[in-house]
Subunit: 389 residues, 2 copies
């Protein structure tokens, strides 16, 4: 266990500040309220933090009015925990209740907005989903004639993209835990160990290093390189000549790291060594380009220019990194289509990848925060040369 | 590590059988196809298994036609893995692509159904969510005039509720791992250990026992009992007189256990002992009532009748158990509102709870499968008497 464990949670002032910022933007964009329903969105404005969201049974709602504190409309089972947050107005029902899973309470809450013909924002844009039954959503809308629903994705994601110093403490800590875990890999894995056991050993090590959990772990190990980066592990034992890749999202106090490392077992073919060196240099270019004022597109191009020298085709992954925070992947995207301007406090993954023939690919990833003077690395930088175990 | 590790995955015949059963019901209910988009629904019909779903960025779609194999419409990054399943028709796009995240491909696929005015089923009922942007859903619908969308929740959940013998092997295995992990708790926790460390030790032990992961872990430890069962752990050390409860959803090959255990640290007040005994007997009544032909409501009543003798008010949790499988919580619900008839192969949690004054509550949980001759316990039965550590 580490001795530098930060405090959990946030002071109430953090949530008040986030809410005030949202309300400022709501005025500009003409929203009379925001209706939120996903775990990170609800937690962002309240601090309500529980793994209970893993049960898909119950919907949870948070309404942010034009002024004043957010209002929670949640299952009774969450009332005690929500009362420990900064909220005052907590409305509950005994869920699950198929006949009325919060729709009556929401109708009461939103009826004045509907009568006024007001505009309410919900998350319905890119990278969102509707965390309630679509049938219930349709029923709610049929009860609220006159209500104008508009997309608030840019507003909320725009706020969430910029991390506060208090959030950065958590992100820096979980990235340090991830780095310490990766550093131990040469000691905890060896030739002959089934990949499935490598995964289990990695997760145990991440917990020992102080992670709350290691919910996301993908990887691969095949001769000379790997072809697929999203598969669960096989029982195939590690063999000399394999390239092993592990990509993890570990969590601490509800914040994720998301990065990977590559190793050669015993020895590596020259192409794999060159791929690693190229990706390392692409990441260097990305780090150098991660300055306020540049765009996500600029960052993508800085990395892809380096990769193009080894792999003219490029991958078909669609992007080379993304936002990081309460979710494993958040907006923005480091992609040609994303012209979001980089701002201080944005936490990003730099995730260049390339193909080097015979269906083989390599991915490389670091986590950074954009600062006025340039990028601050949150992860312990991978060595330029592919490490041999 | 255990020596009795089952095979991972399923033979193709399992998916062909599930699809054929769905298609039989689709004929009866007049569905020309089903459009699915959540991890368990897609995996149920394909075997496509990856943690990549943890990234909320990309939508994934599966279409089940009236006859023939399902058709996947997925991000290119999943193509290699999906090609290893039994599917033949895999359509991909380079995601994320905010301008068209699969909507063009879906429009092409569904246009013939729209022209024919056919009925397509989606999951829009109780306990579901729409795992794609609502804005994209609205856009898709506006491209498919004439298409009739109806709720297929009962159809799909009705199939998924009844586990095959191949599924039961996985559920039995992860419940055995969970039981072995709980059995080790008196050895791995002790007075003075912060609850946060108890959680970390439990997760490490679950992995050591062979779990792929322990994604769900909630619990509490307070003097004489606990008041809340969904909070993350504090750093408060275990003290003599505490009642400690841990409730876990561990996974193996994509299947969950979901049960809990209670312990007294050093000693326990009489009320806590009586609560444990009452819940144990309520669970016995639940086990006895879990026979084909009884309903979920019957099972709820069998348990609540025992609880009423100690706690006339009952809790406000809304149910005393639920289905279990690829999700931590699935349909049906052991609740007054659920008249689903119990059938052979249903895997259920029995989860009675009660309050015993001063805001204190206790929960108790076992996992069973309904068999022709009565319930088969998947978990190692908790002792009737509260265990003292």
């Amino acid at each position: 266990m580490r001795s530098d464990v930060p405090e959990r949670g946030f002071p109430d002032a953090e949530f008040a500040r986030r809410t005030a910022l949202a309300q400022e933007r709501m005025v500009t964009e003409g929203f009379a309220g925001l209706l939120l329903m996903t775990e990170p969105d609800v937690r962002y404005f309240t601090g309500f933090h529980t793994l209970f969201w893993q049960s898909p049974t119950r919907p949870w709602f948070l309404f942010i009015p034009a002024s004043g504190k957010p209002i929670a409309v949640i299952p009774e089972i969450g009332a005690a925990l929500m009362r420990r947050t900064w909220l005052d107005d907590i409305r509950t029902w005994s869920a699950p209740c198929p006949k009325d899973d919060g729709i009556g309470l929401l109708t009461d809450l939103l009826a004045p907005c509907a009568r006024a013909g007001a505009k309410i924002g919900i998350m319905k844009g890119h990278e969102t989903s509707l965390r309630m039954p679509l049938g219930d959503w349709e029923r709610l809308m049929s009860c609220l004639h006159g209500l104008h629903i508009a997309d608030a994705t840019r507003l909320v994601q725009g706020l969430r993209m910029i991390k506060s110093e208090a959030e950065l403490v958590k992100l820096r800590y979980i990235c340090a835990i991830g780095s310490a875990t990766f550093a131990r890999v040469p000691e905890i894995v060896a030739e002959g160990m089934p990949l499935e056991e490598v995964f289990r050993a990695f997760r145990r090590e991440a917990l020992a290093q102080g992670a709350d959990d290691a919910p996301y772990l993908v990887g691969a190990a095949e001769a000379d390189g790997y072809a697929d980066v999203i598969s669960p592990p096989s029982r195939r034992p590690l063999r000399a000549g394999d390239i092993l890749m592990l990509d993890t999202g570990c969590t601490w106090d509800g914040y994720f790291c998301d990065f990977d490392r590559n190793w050669a077992i015993g020895h590596a073919v020259d192409k794999a060594r060159r791929a690693h060196d190229t990706l390392w240099r692409a990441t260097e270019a990305g780090i150098a380009a991660a300055i306020p004022g540049n765009t996500c597109q600029d960052l993508f191009r800085a990395m892809s220019d380096v990769i193009a020298k080894m792999d003219p085709s490029g991958g078909d992954i669609g992007r080379m990194g993304h936002g990081l925070g309460m979710q494993l992947t958040e907006q923005p995207s480091l992609a040609v289509f994303d012209e979001t301007e980089l701002q201080e406090g944005m936490v990003l993954t730099l995730e260049p990848s390339l193909s080097y023939g015979a269906g083989l690919m390599m991915v490389h990833e670091e986590n950074i925060v954009v600062r006025a003077g340039g990028a601050e690395l949150l992860t312990r930088r991978a060595p330029q040369e592919l490490t041999v175990i």
